[in-house]
Symmetry: C2
Subunit: 359 residues, 2 copies
Amino acid sequence: MGGYKIAVLPGDGIGPEVVAEAVKVLGVVGKKFGHTFDLRYADFGGAAIDSSGSPFPPETEITCMNADAVLFGAVGGPKWDSLDPAIRPEKGLLALRKAAGAFANLRPAKLFPELADACYLRPDIVANGIDIMVVRELIGDVYFGEPSGIEVRDGERVGFSNMIYREHEIRRVARVAFETAMKRNKKLCSVDKANVLAVSRLWREVVTEVSKEYPEVELSYMYVDNAAMQLVRNPAAFDVIVTGNLFGDILSDEAAAITGSIGMLPSASVGGPDTPGLYEPVHGSAPDIAGQNLANPVATILSLAMLLRYSLGLAAEADAVEAAVADVLAAGYRTGDIFREGMKRVGCSEMGQLIADRV
Amino acid sequence: MGGYKIAVLPGDGIGPEVVAEAVKVLGVVGKKFGHTFDLRYADFGGAAIDSSGSPFPPETEITCMNADAVLFGAVGGPKWDSLDPAIRPEKGLLALRKAAGAFANLRPAKLFPELADACYLRPDIVANGIDIMVVRELIGDVYFGEPSGIEVRDGERVGFSNMIYREHEIRRVARVAFETAMKRNKKLCSVDKANVLAVSRLWREVVTEVSKEYPEVELSYMYVDNAAMQLVRNPAAFDVIVTGNLFGDILSDEAAAITGSIGMLPSASVGGPDTPGLYEPVHGSAPDIAGQNLANPVATILSLAMLLRYSLGLAAEADAVEAAVADVLAAGYRTGDIFREGMKRVGCSEMGQLIADRV
Ligand SMILES: [Mg+2]
Ligand SMILES: [Mg+2]
């Protein structure tokens, strides 16, 4: 058999280093579980601008669209900051998400007990654990709604952006969220502002309709301002959150921040059954430490675990990768960004090898 | 002279108790500083529904509009929850804000060092202090933008709410924020999502224009998702924040939550020079503890301090009230909601008297 096809986009800055470690781990998964992973590397971001003039060249798009999943590192850096915004590295990411129809962004905010010191919350709150999955709608809402613009009306400037959702956009992301909840603790909280916004009333209606297909999932609702409070007061109360693009942007970043270890957090962006899921660390390309074996590869390795779980359906393999990461942390190994007195400091490649050895 | 005219709306639940303590404090301020405060009580909220059928009856509106400022407690309770939404107690608040043209909501999130234990953040972050003033635009944005609704298009339901700001709406709230910054540390952070939203690009443009009138104020900009992160990571970096209605709703509640003492937080809603400012505690009517002398009157007493400062221009008097609150906390007195082992537990009226005695 041909095995699983994975497009690999190392990108810029620390991207190539952290992706190399994820690939190392993937190699061990393949051997241990008897899978063949067919890796197809492609240029992306600044690296692609340098080689072809576009951050997401047609060959890269073809490679991605023919793959079962896409793993990528990070894009951007000072080298490309002065370019025309239309061909900046970040535009490649938007183009890739659009090509893949990636409408659901899965953003776990999980605190490893070994890194509890780094958490920004009070120790007695941290002791209850943080393990939240934010499912954020990614290609609709006020970020893309029309009409949008700035124009002069009655002699003054007026700015407007349309916060809009169509029924099918809500339904499909709600299904992803309910499926995610089924794989976790069957608890889902839908966040909106239905007491004020018409668009949120439709959101709540459609989520409630979809809930009929998932009678085992306990569905609750929360207003976005209250959710921003409760994430700080009692994050252990949350399991899966589903929300729109804007609210999800804010809450997924807030949830990530409270863990105190944003360098550890993976993400997934998934679309329809016929398009590849996209997997990437939440952190950026960190050009200041690129090429020095200083980067933390854990977020990318955990992104690989999400890829195995969500795009390839390999749950046991994903569990093995996540357990290996936890083991290495428990053994006291730390890259510089999460280093604390008394721990063993390692570089990017050592961290990757340690995790690979424990899969 | 006739003195300062203050409309007093005790409202429902614990409202009358906490307002009574603020009035006690105001009496001492009057004596000590030689002012006459002409208090005009009026029915509001559920109490007004019971007496007149409306949460904001015309006589109450007249009393408020003829006053220099309005002090109110809280509205709502289970007694009125089953009423038609159009005449619910909360509607009275919206009608009052509208009548007063209260376009700027000032929401301080301040941590008293004595209550640092209650803060939800890590002690080393708390040690840097939290003293943030969120200036939230209150009567525009997507909460009131038209068109808004739910309708069927191309065979499916579509929900939409217009995120819209007119130049003058941004300009007037920006001025309130710059004036507030001038009275504090001359640092203002404008929060928007200008990298994505057209309405935010206009927001940023107009705030930048207004900044020319306040060359002493150091203006910075932050995206809303980043602000949600930074409030948790490093709240001491913020002084005054200005933002729109939706972002302000989320961020003011998040900032309040991190202090851990929402029962301590006051608020002000101010409009034009010819309309009264509205002052109220952030907490609700807490019907479960109403009438038992258990409520914490501090948020209402601090709202009175804001009233003295912002509507009457009595800064020394406001300082005296705030210092009295700090003194009482430093002396170890606590109502039940903020009680800790080793402190002296007091009721609502004792707390008010202790503060009044120290003005
Ligand atoms: Mg974000
Ligand atoms: Mg709110």
